[in-house]
């Protein structure tokens, strides 16, 4: 007999193993060697979250009650998968192209990035999923109770509730740790996916093991099993055609409408080709999961005393035969089914809640640009997502407590499915019918939701729970045509078929009529064309026509949402594509489109659109812009594409020329200014020296004054010498006559040296460093590098105009290079000057800030070039910021040509 404590211990071990697996997968993915995480096998296994505890325990109970009908729940998705070319392929392609984060985002994005639609879909999904999550908690709790009972201890409510609570808490922790690592919901959650894949194998093996035991161990072989099935009281086939077809439809539709399925099918899909393999592999998985359901049900009914709960046969049959190991395996299988479903469902729902409810509200509470430019949006969203995970699970727990966990598992599952399926008309209409509109979708969804609540959800609590028996019999307020299970007077239908039929018919009807009579906004039409014709034009028409925002503002916003690394990468890539250097590309409509799509990957299309709109000034598409979209003839499209390619090219050339010209003009002014600058820099100290030496020579002063004046002469002489040194240094560097002296040393020590040498004594500049990351070893010309560091620190000391000046030095490892960022909290440098500051004598801000001769940055740039890296101004940091890029590999030919 398995002692209860052993069961607990084994469960905890199993959880620990899952934790390790998830952790390792995250680690591997972070290190970049995790190609196997993107395999079709992992994709197929992750789809297995369709098989929840409802499948693992409930399928047998379902079969014991209604025979073969249980198979419809797995045949529906089978049909959907083998017909992947119709719907799934399109969904996956759209999901990729539009950076869709959830099913709510899909609907919202399709219908003009509508915030309200996103909210409606989110509400439907949460309401529909709550009973289902409760169901998982219930099954885990009951399976624990089975073991307690087999140890002669019958659990009461208090123990059941406590177990359910601890399971919920554990799930919240696990999901928050591995499910909210990255903000980009469009990115894969490696840890979770890996844990799910392991659980998928465990639950399949467990169910197969119980099945094999039942068929060969108890019945004595397949043919004996079949005889036994024929002899059993179960009616396998009862000719209820309405239910059979309705349930096939319901499960097929739910397969793509359930938020968690949408998450693994579309959002976490890494490669469209995986779909082709999953198209047969996943039906095979479903078939194997279903294979032994009937035998287990039949044997369970034979072996166990009448009145035993058939929902637990998978566990109780092995236990009754004294097969403790098998029972334990089966327990872990059920545990896996429940936990994996809950984790993915909460992640999917939390993404929807945070992106479509919390963030829009948060944004609307702040006026204008303030929302996107200040405050840590990333932090808000992550927090919202974590809280949402806890809230969703808490809702499930509450439902479990309120419903008392009594109802048969299958009933709750089907009610939950039919709720999620209300999204189907809007979704399918949205991707196949360009005429579908936001108004139609919203109306259909609301009608569907209402009918579902009235005919299926509320009655599911039973008569006299939420709806009184008299309402069941006579309708509300005596309106008999509103009876929840006999709408419009049509009675005698199976309640489930009745509910599905009416809600789907009226939902679809409202959706179609609403779409026909309303008129879409330009953005809706644009998105509609992009969704419906996803395979024809992948080139999008611009959704923004005029770009008033500065690149730097956009960068600041992007950094707040995506984090600086990703945002800078996107901006740098675009700038390079445009043929520009640095991090600030020209703000073209195409670039805004791209940026918005990237942001949508984190916060959803509607929010991203609103945020970009706040910066751009709300100038969206006009009807004229849509004419291009309306034109579908392939020839015209191709012709225009060719034209477009040409004009892009021309534009690029023109831009390059314009930039070059601007730089040349600026340079020639600089060259001209160079002579007068050098003259000024040399003559100024000479003036003081000459004047004071005149005074001293005349011998008119004595004592202290004499001492003071000779001090001035001395200082000015040093200034003169340093200037000449700098000029010489720069000319040597520029002419490439410099010999680099390669050494290996610690970057951290170099920074220490530079800080010591930058003359910070008496200055209140505070240096902030991250010692744990800057402790790396580099091989380069260390002395030259220190010279650059000193220059940058000294610059900050001189020019940082903050009240409490602070300079942050951070080091990043970027594969082939180290990035070293120097960011202070001063007022920064205007975009116009960001390129010029590296030129000689280019003290910005009309020379108001005295100090050096303006050679420092020019020298830094030459040194960094010699070292094989570069120095750039890093915009969007709320201060002056420089980024050094230093290659890791050794310098090759260190001797410059003479």
């Amino acid at each position: 007999m398995l002692s209860f404590n052993v069961v607990i211990a084994i469960s905890l071990c199993y959880v620990a193993i899952l934790f390790m697996v998830a952790f390792m997968a995250e680690r591997r993915a972070m290190m970049g060697n995790a190609t196997w995480l993107y395999s079709p096998l992992i994709y197929t296994l992750s789809l297995s979250i369709y098989c929840t505890a409802w499948t693992f325990y409930g399928a047998v109970g379902y079969a014991a009650r209604s025979g073969l009908e249980f198979a419809t729940i797995y045949l529906g998705p089978t049909l959907m998968m083998i017909g992947w070319w119709w719907i799934l392929r399109k969904l996956v392609r759209i999901g990729r192209a539009q950076r869709i984060t959830s099913i709510a985002d899909l609907v919202s994005s399709r219908f003009g990035k509508s915030t309200s639609l996103g909210m409606i879909v989110t509400v439907i999904s949460v309401v529909a999923a709550t009973p289902y999550i409760a169901l998982q908690l219930q099954s885990v709790t009951l399976s624990f109770a089975v073991f307690a009972q087999s140890n002669g201890h019958v659990w009461r409510d208090a123990e059941l509730n406590a177990t359910a609570m601890w399971v919920s808490v554990g799930l919240v922790i696990f999901t928050v740790i591995f499910g909210t690592r990255n903000l980009d919901a469009n990115e894969r959650h490696h840890g979770i996916v890996m844990a799910i894949a392991v659980e998928a194998v465990v639950k399949l093996v467990a169910l197969l093991a119980v099945g094999v035991f039942v068929v060969w161990g108890v019945a004595g072989g397949p043919s004996e099993m079949l005889t036994r099935i024929d002899a059993s009281p179960i009616t396998l086939w009862d000719h209820n055609g309405g239910r059979w077809i309705s349930l096939l439809f319901l499960s097929a539709a739910a397969f793509i409408c359930l938020p968690r399925m949408f998450q693994v099918l579309v959002v976490e899909n890494a490669d469209e080709r995986h779909l082709a393999i999953a198209s047969w592999a996943f039906p095979a998985y479903l078939m194997l999961m279903s294979l032994f359901v009937v035998p287990i049900a039949v044997v369970g009914l034979d072996l166990l005393p009448t009145g035993s709960n058939p929902d637990l046969f998978v566990l109780t049959v092995p236990l009754s035969q004294g097969r403790d190991g098998l029972a334990m395996l089966s327990f872990l299988g059920g545990f896996s089914s429940a936990t994996s479903m809950v984790m993915v469902a909460t992640i999917a729902l939390a993404t929807m809640v945070s992106n479509h409810i919390v963030v829009p509200i948060w944004l609307s509470m702040r006026p204008n640009q303030q929302a996107v430019m200040s405050g840590d949006i990333r932090h808000v969203i992550l927090l919202a997502r974590r809280l949402s995970i806890a809230a969703v699970l808490f809702l499930g727990f509450i439902y479990y407590r309120v419903s008392g966990g009594g109802t048969a598992l299958a009933a709750i599952g089907l009610v939950s499915f039919s709720g999620a399926v209300q999204i189907l008309p809007a979704m399918i209409g949205g991707i196949f019918w360009r005429g579908a509109t936001r108004i139609g979708a919203a109306a259909g969804l609301i009608v569907g939701l209402t009918l579902w609540l009235w005919t299926l959800f509320l009655p599911s609590f039973g008569a006299d729970a939420l709806i009184s028996q008299s309402v069941f019999d006579n309708g509300p307020f005596g309106l008999s045509w509103l009876r929840p299970q006999a709408l419009f007077g049509i009675s005698g239908l199976d309640p489930l078929v009745h509910g599905i039929l009416w809600s789907m018919i009226l939902n679809t009807g409202t959706f179609i009529i609403g779409s026909l009579v309303s008129f879409p906004t330009p953005l809706e039409r644009l998105q509609g064309a992009q969704f419906v014709n996803i395979f024809e034009h992948s080139a999008a028409a611009p959704a923004w026509t005029n770009a008033a925002a500065g690149a730097e503002d956009l960068l600041i916003m992007a950094q707040r949402i995506m984090g600086s690394t990703d945002a800078q990468a996107i901006f740098e890539r675009e700038a390079t594509r445009q043929g520009k250097k640095g991090y600030l590309p020209e703000v073209t409509p195409a670039f805004i489109e791209l940026l918005e799509r990237e942001l949508a990957g984190s916060v959803g299309a509607a929010t991203a659109h609103a945020m970009v709109g706040q910066l751009i000034g709300g100038s969206g598409v006009s009807v004229e812009d849509l004419i291009a979209v309306a034109d579908e003839a392939a020839q015209i499209l191709e012709y225009s594409n060719r034209l477009e390619a040409k004009s892009t090219e021309q534009e690029q050339t023109a831009r390059a020329l314009r930039d070059a010209n601007a730089k040349l003009t600026a340079l020639s002014i600089q060259k001209d200014a160079f002579l007068s600058q050098i003259s000024h820099e040399l003559r100024t100290p000479m003036t003081s020296i000459r004047s004071f030496s005149d005074i001293l020579r005349d011998g008119e002063v004595g004592g202290d004054a004499q001492k003071r004046y000779s001090g001035i002469i001395h200082d000015e002489a040093i200034r003169l010498t340093r200037l000449l040194d700098d000029l010489l240094d720069l000319s040597v560097l520029e002419n490439g006559q410099v010999m680099l002296n390669e050494q290996t040393g610690s970057l951290s020590a170099l920074l220490d040296r530079a800080i010591g040498g930058a003359g910070l004594l008496g200055s209140n500049l505070k240096i902030v460093r991250t010692p744990e990351v800057d402790d790396v070893t580099i091989t380069t010309d260390l002395d030259r590098l220190v010279q650059v560091f000193i220059n940058l620190i000294a610059n900050s000391r001189k020019y940082c105009d903050a009240r409490h000046p602070r300079l942050k030095i951070s080091v990043f490892d970027r594969g082939s290079h180290f990035y070293i960022d120097f960011v202070d909290n001063g007022s920064g440098i205007a975009a116009d000057n960001q390129q010029l500051i590296f030129e000689k004598f280019s003290r910005v801000a009309d020379g108001s800030k005295a100090g050096g001769a303006g050679l420092g940055l020019a020298i830094c740039r030459e040194i960094m070039r010699r070292l094989g890296g570069d120095i750039t101004y890093l915009p969007g940091q709320y201060g002056t910021a420089f980024r050094l890029r230093l290659p890791k590999k050794k310098l090759k030919n260190t001797l410059g040509e003479l």
């Binding site: 100024t684 003036t687 005074i695 008119e700 108001s848």
Partner: protein
Amino acid sequence: MGKRVLLIEDEPNILEAISFILSRDGWTVHTHEDGETAMQKVVGFPPDMIILDVMLPGRSGFDILRDLRGTDTTKDIPVMMLTARGQEKDRELALRLGANHFMTKPFSNAEVRDHVRNLMEA
């Protein structure tokens, strides 16, 4: 009490040198270091003469000179300009804008003293 000279120059050492030279010659020297606010200073305290550097923080000496010549109360005050850039076109510009004298740094102390005397006597 000598005549008042206003010295507008941002290099503290040069400021000190010229102040020393002129005070020794009997002038009352007032100093100002910023280009932006120089005009206000001049208007609020009309000096007998101004020595004006070209490269000033905030505002260039040429701009200040243009304003001085365009304002009734200051248009007759003699102005001597100082520059370290030493370009011929700077001299031309200064004289065209109405400077009375243009001097290139570095200078000998006697040079400064003599030119200031000349300007006041003229």
